[in-house]
């Protein structure tokens, strides 16, 4: 295969990946809601309901508070763009996409942090107490999640020697590293981080509008119409990005290798759907079984993730003798 054909293939995989991520994100939310409803004995809305809600919201003209600045108006699109950029970097069904050389884990974390900061600033822009409480809590949770995340990256970088997600997935896909205790520990850690970053139970409740407990919903309380549609789509996309990230790093099997023919992609997509589906079922079951915790217990929850990740790194030092 010539270089030009390889490049075209990588580009095609990239475009297909972004389109699939965008299409699948609201479906994922629909599946989780449906499963949760069934577990609680309700019929639940159809799986397509989030898509319908988004389209309905997108048709509506937003109502904006009188003292909103340009930042408030630009934030939904800017935050969504940052999440979309992060989504473009996390490989789903094929390795070696066009974005592979850029797909650094720290960059992905940075892009998600960019989206978070944009929304937190927008939450402060109207000058209401709800926006402020949401922004404050969101930034606090991030302060506890990021050290744990860097330790997860540290472990992966020690094992593989790079922070590039595509390279990490390629090495882990080979299975040369085998099963490791450290990988298991950081899997638990990254799941806890993902729960906190996406505002799922027990850290935050995405379905609540009870004022005292909400974080993300409080931050975006003033948004309506197509602005809200963008924010909700970004939130769904972020959840899918995290699930895909966990699947790509810890279960990279079934993904099409770099430069593979499009026939491989079909298996890759099936494997991806399977991985995300299992994670979605697990999340729905977990959320049904557990209650939301108090705001000031969240640092402890993330502290456990931090300790597990630290244990993973130390275990690696002791077992491998990196000197």
């Amino acid at each position: 295969m010539s270089a030009a054909a390889g490049l075209l293939l990588a580009l095609a995989a990239q475009l297909l990946h972004v389109a699939l991520m965008l299409a699948a994100a609201p479906l994922l939310v629909g599946v989780i809601r449906r499963v949760k409803a069934r577990l609680l004995g309700r019929a639940g809305p159809p799986v397509l309901q989030p898509w319908r809600d988004l389209l309905r919201l997108a048709r509506k003209q937003p109502v904006v508070a009188e003292n909103a600045s340009w930042l408030f108006l630009a934030a939904p699109a800017a935050g969504f763009a940052a999440v979309l950029a992060a989504a473009a970097l996390v490989p789903s069904f094929a390795l070696g996409m066009a974005s592979a050389p850029v797909a650094d884990l720290l960059v992905i974390g940075g892009l998600l942090a960019l989206a978070r900061c944009i929304l937190a600033l927008a939450g402060m822009d109207i000058g209401t107490s709800f926006g402020g409480i949401g922004s404050s809590r969101e930034m606090t949770y991030a302060a506890f999640a990021e050290p744990a995340l860097i330790l997860v990256v540290f472990t992966l970088a020690l094992l593989v020697g790079t922070t590039n997600l595509d390279a990490i997935a390629a090495v882990l896909r080979e299975g040369a590293l085998g099963l490791r205790v450290s990988l298991g520990l950081i899997l638990i850690a990254i799941i806890a981080i993902a729960i906190a970053e996406n505002g799922r139970i027990p850290v935050d409740n995405p379905a609540t509008h009870l004022e005292l407990t909400m974080v993300h919903e409080a931050m975006v309380l003033e948004y309506s119409g197509r602005h809200l549609a963008l924010i909700e789509l970004a939130a769904a996309l972020k959840l899918l990005v995290w699930m895909t990230l966990i699947g790509t790093v810890f279960v990279p099997f079934g993904m099409a290798p770099a430069g593979a023919l499009p026939l491989w992609w079909a298996t890759g997509m099936l494997a991806w759907a399977g991985k995300v589906g299992v994670l979605a079922l697990a999340l729905a079951g977990f959320e049904t079984a557990i209650a939301k915790m108090r705001v000031f217990r969240v640092p402890e929850f993330l502290g456990i993730a931090l300790l597990l990740a630290l244990l993973a790194v130390v275990f690696l030092f002791v077992s491998q003798g990196f000197a």
Binding site: L84, L106, G127, F322
Partner: protein, 725 residues
């Protein structure tokens, strides 16, 4: 210490193992320890002539700045800043030309100085890099000072002198010149801090600053004396020190003294207590210079002494740098979330960033000690890149804080708010600076921290288990500091510049004048460029890296990609920016096309929803400012979760019972552990000692004479003992 017969013309390497013995295996000449070979590179005639002209040129700029300071005592004060601007611009151009031209080291001897010891100046990659930083900040600070309308005239002559003293420190090639520049820098900045000296807080801050400067001088001068002393001869020239780096206990003492002497000026924890008050007390353009440039000059002194003059040293040298840097980063970032004054927030974030840079320096020392030169170059390059990025964005933020004080009459977060409507340019610049502060891609702060993280992630192969665990903890603390800095940036911008005004004065704020706006936009543009092309800054740092770490900057693909190793994937800032731009453009285009097709373009305005709260009463036209989140409330979760443990934060809530018409109140108290654990104790000891000394005054004449006699005997005994040795 074993002595090896030096091979003439061949540099001696003193790489020592942990036990202080010269290890035979490491005894081989290398490029990076041989400062001489670095000095003699690039000896083409043309390069020599150009470089030969650049050092006198920069020397002239320094001299002209000193002269400007002197002249403006009698001339109109405005001239001081008016002429500083072109002089700094000329200095920046010269420094850039020098770095771009390969930065071959040059030196010159001045017909000035101590008897028998003329002052000498030198220019190499390291000093050129820091000179560029200093002069760029100097240009912006001068432009901003032009917007002051005579408010700072009383201390205007010290402004060019301050810049000149910093430049002299950077150009110094002997211990005397270095100390002269460093102390002139301290004194000039002390005078500048005192600009608003009628305020008691300002005087207290300046006094604390002077005390810390004296402490720094009290450590830096002995350090240089120790470095220069050899076999009873004292040679202050750097070349002589470099030829005979310190060993054994002498090296350890030098390390401790330099860490205190230069670290106290740089704001290295736990010697950072003077930064928040002094930066708040100084006018905006002065605090910009102090925070962005002076702390970097102190870091330069640290690098010059520890990396260059001390030569290769054992790996444990990196431990104090790593520990102090990482703890300073966390402490500074956490305090930045608690402060109520914009400039204090920014000063605490300076402590954080200095901590991160010092971590990078520590990693470079560790990598150099065990001979992993690519990693040493990566870590030192990361530190220099972050220093340059921080210099630009922190100057931007401090100038913006000055503009805010000028326009809105206060720097207190609980009196500001809603400035985005009244001061759009300042707010946009602060947002750009805040993105760098929060290390969000593709800003310059992210580029610096990404490279630093790559260095620390690659570090575990440098040492044994103890060092590995230390690196791991340092990485965690760096991540915590970065996340806390993001929270601090959101708090600063969200409370101060967004939302509703909290005071009538803030509601009627004025936008900054044209010179200030240009300074802000220029610095924002520079930050953006550094963020998009961090490789260019690393390219400018390459001569320094070759000199001190023996390796080139970690770059690939025309410098567009910063990569930790030659073959490894890296960070391509332009690609990330293009990706963000594409995503943003796509979203904007789709939303616009759809809303135009639906006829729902634009938006309607209405009162804030705020969960159904009603309209504000007529006497509160902007709503009740107290119902917004303020600085103290935004910090509450972090204050409870981390502040209670680290800063000893206590909250006293006074909540009146229903029906009671007293206002509710919240009182927060917190203490910096450096102040309570270190400086309060030191103060107690000083009081005890001075109390003891005070008794001497009231001794009877008999006792005084016996004390004098005892001291004399002791002194003679000491002399006798020393003679015997």
């Amino acid at each position: 210490m074993t002595k090896f017969a030096p091979d003439p013309g061949r540099p001696i390497l003193r790489a020592r193992t942990r036990h202080g013995k010269i290890s035979g295996g490491a005894f081989r000449p290398r490029e990076w320890c041989c400062y001489k070979s670095g000095r003699e590179q690039n000896r083409t005639p043309r390069g020599r002539i150009v470089n030969g002209l650049l050092l006198p040129g920069l020397g002239t700029v320094v001299l002209a700045l000193f002269a400007l300071g002197g002249v403006s005592v009698v001339a109109p004060r405005r001239l001081a800043v008016l002429w500083s601007l072109p002089l700094c611009a000329a200095g920046a151009v010269l420094a850039l030309a020098y770095l771009a031209g390969g930065a071959a080291p040059v030196g010159m001897v001045l017909p000035l100085g101590l008897p028998g010891m003329p002052m000498s100046l030198a220019l190499d990659g390291l000093s050129g890099f820091f000179l560029l930083l200093l002069m760029l900040v100097g240009v912006a600070a001068s432009a901003a000072a032009l917007d002051s309308h005579g408010a700072y005239d009383s201390t205007a002559p010290f402004f060019p002198a301050f810049i000149a003293a910093m430049a002299l420190t950077l150009l110094a090639a002997d211990a005397f010149t270095l100390v002269l520049g460093f102390e002139l820098m301290s004194l000039a900045s002390f005078a500048l801090v005192l600009t608003n000296h009628r305020d008691a807080e300002v005087r207290a801050a300046a006094l604390l600053y002077l005390g810390m400067a004296a402490l720094g001088a009290g450590c830096l001068i002995p350090a240089l004396a120790l470095l220069g002393a050899r076999d009873g001869v004292w040679d202050a020239a750097f070349a002589a020190i470099r030829a005979h780096p310190p060993e054994g206990w002498r090296a350890a003492v030098v390390l401790a003294l330099v860490l205190v002497g230069a670290g106290s000026k740089a704001g290295l924890a736990p010697l950072h207590v003077w930064l928040p008050p002094a930066h708040s007390a100084a006018p905006g353009h002065v605090s910009a210079l102090m925070s962005a440039a002076m702390t970097k000059v102190a870091l330069y002194v640290l690098i010059r002494l520890l990396f260059d003059l001390c030569g290769p040293q054992p790996i444990w040298w990196s431990v104090p740098l790593l520990v102090l840097g990482a703890s300073g980063a966390v402490l500074g970032a956490l305090r930045a979330n608690m402060e109520g004054d914009i400039k204090a927030v920014l000063a605490c974030s300076t402590v954080e960033n200095i901590g991160l840079i010092v971590v990078g320096l520590g990693l470079a020392l560790a990598a150099r000690a065990v001979d992993v030169l690519p990693l040493a170059a990566l870590a030192l390059g990361a530190a220099l890149l972050h220093a340059m990025a921080h210099g630009m964005f922190k100057a931007l933020l401090f100038l913006g804080a000055g503009a805010t004080q000028h326009g809105a009459g206060t720097r207190r977060l609980d009196r500001l708010g809603g400035l985005i409507h009244r001061m759009p340019v300042t707010t946009a610049a602060m947002l750009a600076g805040g993105a760098c502060l929060a290390a969000l891609p593709p800003s310059s702060g992210f580029a610096g921290e990404w490279t630093l993280f790559q260095a620390v992630l690659a570090a575990p192969r440098l040492g044994g288990l103890g060092m590995q665990v230390l690196f791991c903890v340092v990485a965690t603390m760096m991540a915590l500091a970065a996340a806390l800095a993001a929270a601090a940036a959101v708090r600063l911008l969200g409370v101060g510049y967004l939302g509703r005004p909290r005071s009538p004065r803030g509601a009627a704020a004025d936008e900054a004048g044209p010179p200030m706006r240009w300074a802000l936009l220029g610095l924002a543009g520079l930050s953006l460029l550094i963020g998009l092309f961090p490789g260019a800054v690393l390219g400018l740092a390459t001569p320094a890296l070759r000199l001190l770490a023996g390796g080139a900057a970690p770059l690939r693909d025309l410098g567009l990609v910063v990569a930790p190793a030659a073959e490894a994937p890296g960070y391509a800032a332009p690609a990330v920016a293009v990706l963000l731009g594409l995503a943003g453009g796509l979203v904007w285009w789709v939303v616009r096309a759809r809303s135009l097709a639906n006829g729902t373009a634009g938006h309607r305005s209405g009162p804030a929803w705020d969960c159904g709260f009603g309209d504000p009463p007529a006497w509160l036209p902007f709503g009740d400012p107290a119902t917004q989140y303020g600085g103290a409330s935004f910090a509450q979760p972090l204050r409870r979760a981390l502040g209670a443990a680290i800063l000893g934060a206590r909250e006293q809530v006074d909540m009146p019972a229903p029906g009671d018409r007293r206002p509710a109140s919240l009182a927060v108290s917190l203490h910096d552990p450096a102040a309570t654990l270190l400086f309060a104790r030191l103060g107690d000891w000083r009081d005890t000692l001075s109390g003891l000394a005070d008794r001497m005054q009231f001794l009877t004449i008999r006792r005084t004479l016996s004390v004098m006699f005892a001291v004399l005997v002791l002194f003679l005994a000491l002399v006798a003992v020393l003679e015997q040795l």
